[in-house]
Symmetry: C2
Subunit: 426 residues, 2 copies
């Protein structure tokens, strides 16, 4: 491999892994400068080069050909990467938020300047999903990308299921163990998954999805009771990200979803990620692996750096090397157009005719019931639990039906309504 | 994409899929000639070009730049591909047997002539494993590749487990359904997996494994009784291919293996394939998908053709594009050096002291027992079943221990001895 000079922005967990891998394995990839916020901070590995608190010293250095961005966050990353691209430097980034918010502009600018943006590390950590989509599934039209894209929430849901813990307790434990941040909002409210989905949409369907347009619900309202009930019906609750072309437009959603226990996605436990890709020729491909962590993410960053550095010597390489992403944002289907089967649990007053009324309302909204079970909430209470699994219906129809049921006199509590994952979506 | 002229050898199932995908999607990839054995045979799709029964008309055509080989088998594929490489044509092949038997020579010749051999379709059908290993896990040292690499045997084992069928009945059913060939030897005796492992060894460890040196046992001797027993202990029986660097050398093996029910490999059912790759930086990555079939395999072939065709215009592209494989054959560890936990089931005369004797023999051969259960074979018989799960031990020690036990007076029947899959291997 020819000598390539690198600069790095950020020297946290992922940056540490990058330094380890580079110095261990690649003599011709020369890290010249690392920019950090605080140069006095002790690091777990020594930088093999100058450490500066001036990030412009990295992006303005004429000798640096590739800028590795592992600082994260929207700013100052946006300003720095924009400037680096203007100066015709190639970018390797792990920054999902930056790409999800500014991907179209950054890729347009990179095209103009003839440089590449590599982003394997920005989605699903160590899983080489970008390489797989870009090179391995080249001959396919992608129809869907669905998966578990956030290890923190997967860990919390696993805890809730295994030990019957309430959400708040499981979150607290995840924080104590270092699996969740002090401010867990980005994870538990599904923003992190939405950023990743925006990038996956670009990869699978040609344009980034605007995260504001992604239907998003996190895991804070998942009731521990539903893990057991879902299990009885053959499902497990996972927070899924979905980018699916259903024929009536592109649906991009983040939501707790019931996954069949027999599907390998159900076996993705703890902090792992798992993604199912559906291509028209290949059918379903699934990848499972570590979604975060120092060395897995560094594996993705350094893989990009090595592939880029090998290709750099080729004339006109960017057009060959760069994943094809078009200008502008993806057009998404209306939120109500999502189609899938649903799981519902509601607490009702135990009157005669309740099931008939529910069935009538569902029928009026084109929803057909696959199975329905009524049972006492407890031995002493007069209320009953009704659990319903529907056939595939539209999310808009389900919203309308639930609105109508909410105003019915028999309803005590609409305890849960979650979509069910279908293999056809992936 | 620039115009690239292609020729194809073979027009069976995979060739049909290739023609479908190419004509559907890629106008600049021009299929000029297809060579078949019998030009009078009716095809499910019309060839978009001349069909000839002279394969040399393809490999000798000076206009053809890329030869797609989907005829399979050792000869005449070897002669034809050798000649095509001599004439500086790039090769895209789905032929695992050819690569496993002649990979070192073919890759050496390709290097000499400056052409690429692409072989995504030769292992795990539609799963883009080669792209993942070559581009996605670039920064990793691979320590193991383990997986379910043969859909036919996976289907048969699933049938045996689900319905308690004997091997012969499950095979018959697979044949009736078209999932197994009239002569099923290559699948059920593990040759097909050994070919794929030889290629995976080249990809992960730099050199092809000679298939004669691969420890191989098929599924013909799997007893239906063991599915249930394995299940009780938390395992499922799968035919695994393994290429593992255990520190004491490279072990390459094909054998029925117990996989923990909680591991996603256990959820790979029917005719799917699943592979676990272990890299030092990334940890474990797993891929699941269709291991065969017209369109999945065509997806891999055409993916190779497209990537190759895009790169062809680059000067010195082969050195950038080609997976790095060294000359010669991989050096493998001795068969007895494999290390893993074992599952055993034996039928013994129900004497006092039998368990003690077994324990003593195992101890003498450095094998330590993790759990042992004795129970009556049936209510009427005087014999007992003993099921043993060992800690990790060497296969050579296990062979020696079993030899000793075989000569013991208490042994009626050594019913089963199978390795257990450990995540550390993958």
């Amino acid at each position: 491999m020819a000598r390539v000079v690198l600069g790095m922005l950020g020297f946290g967990t992922v940056g540490t892994g990058v330094v380890r891998l580079l110095s261990d394995r690649y003599q011709s990839l020369v890290l010249k400068k690392v920019a950090v916020r605080d140069t006095s901070k002790e690091r777990r590995v020594a930088a093999p080069c100058a450490v500066t608190d001036d990030p412009f010293a990295v992006v303005d250095d004429p000798e640096i050909e590739v800028v590795i961005e592992v600082m994260g966050g929207e700013q100052p990353a946006l300003e720095l990467i924009t400037r680096a691209i203007e100066r015709r430097k190639h970018i390797v980034t792990a920054n999902k938020e930056l790409l999800a918010k500014h991907g179209p502009d950054l890729f347009a600018l990179a095209r103009k300047r003839g440089v590449a943006i590599c982003f394997e590390a920005s989605v699903a950590g160590g899983i080489p999903l970008i390489a797989t989509m870009h090179k391995g599934l080249e001959a396919n039209k992608i129809s869907s990308l669905c998966g578990i894209l956030n290890g923190t929430t997967n860990f919390i849901l696993s805890s809730m299921e295994d030990r019957g813990e309430a959400f708040a307790d499981a979150l607290k434990k995840a924080q104590d163990l270092g699996f969740a941040e002090a401010d867990p909002t980005a994870d538990i409210e599904g923003y992190d998954v939405a950023y990743k989905l925006s990038i996956l949409t670009a990869l699978g369907f040609g344009r980034f999805a605007r995260t504001d347009n992604i239907a998003r619900s996190g895991i804070t309202k998942v009731d521990p009771k539903d893990f057991k009930t879902a299990n009885e019906f053959g499902y497990r609750i996972k927070l899924l990200g979905k980018a699916v072309n259903q024929g009536n437009g592109l649906c991009v959603r983040v939501e707790p979803t019931l996954v069949p226990l027999t599907h390998p996605l159900a076996a993705v436990s703890g902090s792992n990620n798992g993604i199912v890709v559906h291509g028209d020729a290949v059918g379903q491909i699934m990848m499972i692996g570590p979604g975060a962590g120092e060395m897995p993410t560094a594996s993705a960053v350094v893989g990009d750096v090595v592939n880029l550095s090998t290709a750099l010597q080729l004339p006109d390489f960017a057009s060959y090397f760069q994943a094809e992403i078009e200008d502008g944002w993806a057009e998404l289907a209306a939120e109500g157009d999502w189609q899938c089967p649903y799981y519902l649990r509601m607490v009702v007053r135990d009157h005669p005719g309740v099931i008939g009324q529910i069935g009538t309302i569902f029928g009026r909204h084109n929803l057909s019931i696959s199975s329905i079970v009524q049972r006492p909430v407890s031995e002493t209470e007069k209320n009953a639990s009704i659990i319903i699994i529907t056939h595939t219906g539209k999310s808009g129809d389900m919203t309308a039906a639930l609105n109508e049921i909410s105003s019915c006199e028999f309803l005590e509590n609409l305890a849960a309504c979650m979509p069910i994952y279908e293999a056809r979506h992936a």
